[in-house]
């Protein structure tokens, strides 16, 4: 069973302008196989970038093809280098590790215990956007959470070359 949406609908979805009724229907429908093409096209238009978007990664980060190299680029334009490396190691960080710092986010006593956990905020050096928040015990390494297999995705699943 195949579903497909006009590009305008996907644009509204990306911009979070889709009315709830349409969103609900979309949730309940079979998934549309051509979503990715329209999704990337919409992002390409919204960013106005000359580099081709290869894969949207997070709310603020995209994998783009820049001069034949796949790099991570933030929506503000800040570049984070090779997509195979952990982008989190190239941004800014604020670590909350005291009760007072936790209480800025959560009302007491719904706060974590600093003896068990710290909250790491990863911030975009280009614009100050909050890119991700980790909750880990002190001393825990920073994990590279998502490592897309872009080659397989494009050539085997989509059966087309990686955008240049």
């Amino acid at each position: 069973m195949s579903t497909s949406y006009p590009e305008e609908v996907i644009r509204k979805l990306v911009k979070r302008e889709l009315p709830w009724e349409d969103l609900k229907r979309m949730m309940s429908e079979f998934k549309d196989p051509d979503r990715f093409e329209k999704y990337v096209k919409v992002w390409q238009e919204l960013t106005g970038w000359k580099e081709k978007i290869v894969l949207p990664l997070t709310e603020h980060l995209m994998i783009v093809n820049k001069d034949g190299n796949l790099i991570i680029k933030a929506l503000c334009g800040y570049e984070l280098g090779d997509y195979k490396e952990n982008w989190k190691l190239k941004v800014l960080i604020r670590v909350r590790r005291t009760l007072e710092e936790f209480k800025e986010i959560y009302p007491y006593p719904l706060v974590p215990d600093p003896n068990w956990c710290e909250i790491r905020e990863f911030i975009c050096p280009g614009c100050g956007a909050l890119l991700d928040v980790d909750a880990v015990p002190p001393g825990y390494p920073i994990i590279k959470e998502f490592e897309p297999d872009i080659e397989t995705f494009y050539t085997k699943w989509l059966k087309r070359p990686i955008p240049k």
Partner: protein, 728 residues
């Protein structure tokens, strides 16, 4: 020549071996390269499937009302399914989808242990299991299966599972803090519990004195039996209509079709590659006096740690490699690869396979690995799995977030989801009949994490439970002799984000009996540690807690008509002002047991919502206004966390857009000023690690994990650039 009881005169062992051989050799379920029946007459095939589906759903929806347990009747903690003779799941009702694989494992265990010869598998005989060694999850999830015979041949099995409120452990209810299996309560390991479609007397008598709610347990056993009976007789009618050969081939085609459809779904909505995270459960038991009586090492602080990687493979299969986990230990947080599938399927059926036919076919698309001897692959048969849900919620809750990275990258924003875990309470009462008690499933109505397109659900999400409702307050009051003082949402108590997590939910109760004891447990996973993290700048959820106030002046306040507190913040305020008084005040952020409570004492629990999504200062101000109007956010919090400046004019809240833009810019600048480059952070932290300047329980966690996982050790040492001779 001796013939077996199975279809075609084969023994069940022969059938199982044949099925496994065909799978190994061909890669298709039962070697079915062609879906012949489906191809020849798809309408008939669909009709056949609908008949089976109607049987299991019809059974569940009819028999749950036999139950007296609110958990069964109202929360819907039960599931029914039909299996092939070899124990492969064909079709499942709605309900606790954790059991896609558990009953299958139970049936296979009986086949492998030659139940066919001894004690014998005959029509009208029902077998039960709740022991992890046999495929059960934890003692309160009781599995019951019965064979389906057609003209003398075993053609399948019917199975049903119910989550009991109680299984007779040393602590009341479902997830006791049991350091070993010896204090988990009743165990069933393939026991014959009914003959000729009637519960056996010795089973009923055994249950009568070994659990705290015998009436509820026995009624639940009748629910299982009645459901299985309905399904068994229904299947016979289906075979009458479609023919035995059609039935036997069609159930296998359904499984193979389910397998193929799952692979296609993965390829449609995900991205191939590696998805990684680490999940944590603090076991802060060092202050729990008495635990050492149960096990010499049980009373200590331990941080459970799971580092894992999901591989989404080119062919659409998924592999979960949980490569780091603590060694097995004296606590109830163990699982096995079969039990891990419980957590997997309760999540995948709802976020990935909700439009598929979930069966053994989908099950075969996913594989697992976990270190042998770890809490996820124990070698000690005496370890406890009582609190296995804590493990499953923690691992697979974060697993849903990981798959959501794929949904987002693929453009399916409406599929992105973040889950929550359970924060449970159990209650024990002393009555003229002795101790009674069990779970109070208030947590079933907790809030969810945020999605990529909307806020988390405030109340009425609990992916781990079927009907996502806390049940009627009146029914719980009747069960546990307590009165609801309130069920309410808390203000400023959610995980911030562009889309926020569900609001924290709070219930407080007045004790209405002479003897009550409350156990605060389970999802305390994170009483001191947040459950999971958040997505793309959304924060982790707040942490839950419980409380009890003993010898209060609540009776006097009611008599004087002084308004009673409506949430825990008001309770704290009333205590501070001296309006509410209590001789003893208890505050719980771990698994713990209250003292003896009595009339007019009060106790309560805060259930957290799930995690946030996206940068909180990108939140649509309209959503902030909505929350202010609902009492879920204060003006001050809206400004500090979301950078939204509100105005209250003419009885209405509005947004000062200009001030909001300035406030948000200010927050961005503050962030940049307070942050340091990650590389700098790593250098500083490295020094700390070299000095072992970390809490002892964290150091022990790292030490234990490096011993059991070579890969994690290498990652840890490489990340912090530690010398080879360094010992954590």
């Amino acid at each position: 020549m001796k013939t077996g009881i199975g279809y075609g005169g084969k023994t069940l062992k022969e059938m199982l071996e044949e099925s496994e051989k065909l799978w190994r050799e061909t890669g298709y379920y039962y070697g079915l390269k062609e879906l012949k029946l489906r191809k020849e007459d798809p309408v008939k095939f669909e009709r056949f499937y609908s008949r089976l589906l109607a049987l299991v759903i019809g059974a569940r929806e009819s028999v749950r009302y036999i139950a007296s347990s609110p958990g069964t009747r109202e929360v819907g903690e039960l599931v029914f399914a039909i299996y092939t003779p070899e124990g492969d799941g064909v079709v499942f009702s709605t309900g606790i989808m954790a059991h896609v694989n558990t009953m299958s494992r139970f049936i296979k265990w009986m086949i492998e242990n030659d139940y066919e010869s001894d004690p014998g598998i005959i029509e009208g005989r029902y077998f039960e299991a709740n022991d992890w060694v046999v495929g059960g999850l934890h003692p309160v999830d009781v599995l019951q299966v019965t064979p389906i015979f057609y003209k003398g041949q075993l053609v399948g099995w019917s199975g049903g599972v119910i989550h009991e409120l109680e299984a007779g452990a040393y602590e009341p209810a479902g997830c006791p803090l049991s350091p070993t299996r010896f204090v988990e309560g009743l165990h069933f390991m393939g026991d014959i519990v009914a003959e000729n479609d009637r519960l056996k007397k010795e089973y009923v008598e055994k249950v009568k004195i070994n659990v705290r709610f015998p009436e509820i347990f026995i009624m639940d056993a009748k629910v299982r039996l009645a459901g299985n009976y309905m399904i068994r007789e229904g299947v016979k009618k289906v075979i009458d209509e479609f023919g035995l050969d059609y039935y036997m081939r069609a159930v296998r085609e359904l499984i193979e079709e389910g397998r193929r459809a799952f692979l296609e779904k993965v390829k449609t909505v995900l991205i191939p590659g590696k998805y990684r995270t680490a999940a944590f459960i603090p076991l802060n038991y060092s202050k729990l006096e008495g635990l050492r009586r149960l096990h010499p090492l049980a009373q200590q602080d331990t941080l459970l740690h799971f580092a894992y990687e999901i591989s989404v493979n080119e062919d659409g299969t998924l592999h979960y490699d949980i490569y780091a986990a603590n060694p097995q230990g004296p606590h109830p947080l163990h699982a096995t690869p079969t039990l891990l599938r419980g957590g997997l399927w309760i999540t995948l059926t709802q976020i990935l396979a909700y439009d598929l036919r979930v069966s053994e076919g989908t099950n075969r698309c996913v594989s697992f690995s976990a270190p042998q001897g770890s809490v996820l692959n124990p070698t000690d048969p005496h370890v406890s799995t009582s609190n296995v849900w804590n493990v499953l919620c923690t691992i697979f809750g974060s697993g849903v977030r990981l798959l959501s990275y794929g949904f987002y990258a693929r453009g399916f924003l409406e599929e992105v989801f973040q889950m929550n875990a359970n924060d449970m309470i159990a209650i024990q009462l002393l009555t003229p009949k002795g101790l009674v008690g069990g779970d109070n499933m208030e947590h079933a109505g907790a809030g969810s994490g945020a999605r990529a397109v909307e806020d988390g659900i405030d109340g009425g999400h609990c992916l781990w439970l079927p009907d996502t409702t806390a049940g009627n307050a009146e029914r719980w009051e009747e069960t546990y002799n307590k009165l609801y003082l309130h069920r309410n949402f808390l203000r400023d108590a959610y995980a911030p984000g562009k889309f926020r997590g569900g609001a924290a939910r709070n219930s407080t109760f007045i004790v209405w009996t002479d003897f009550m004891q409350v156990v605060f447990k389970c999802g305390w996973t994170p009483g001191v540690f947040p459950f999971d993290k958040g997505m793309f700048g959304g924060y982790p959820p707040p942490t839950p807690f419980g409380y009890a106030l003993k010898n209060t002046n609540v009776k006097e306040l009611i008599e004087k008509k002084v308004p009673l507190p409506r949430n825990v913040f008001e309770i704290i305020e009333a205590l501070e002002k001296g309006i509410l008084r209590a001789e003893e005040i208890y505050f719980y952020k771990t698994h713990d047991v209250s003292p003896h409570l009595k009339y007019y004492d009060i106790f309560g629990i805060v259930h957290k919502g799930g995690a946030g999504y996206g940068d909180p200062i990108e939140r649509d101000p309209k959503l902030v206004i909505r929350d202010v109007e609902r009492g879920l956010v204060s003006e001050e919090y809206a400004r500090r966390i979301h950078g939204v400046v509100l105005k209250y004019e003419n009885g209405k809240w509005t947004v000062d857009l200009e001030a909001t833009a300035k406030e948000r810019e200010k927050i961005r600048k503050e962030r940049l000023a307070k942050a340091i480059p990650v590389k700098e952070f790593i250098e500083k932290e490295r020094e700390r690690i070299l000095k072992k300047d970390l809490p002892e329980h964290v150091l022990r966690c790292y030490r234990d994990t490096t011993r059991i996982s070579k890969r994690w050790k290498e990652e840890f040492y490489k990340f912090w650039n530690l010398p080879e001779n360094f010992e954590i």
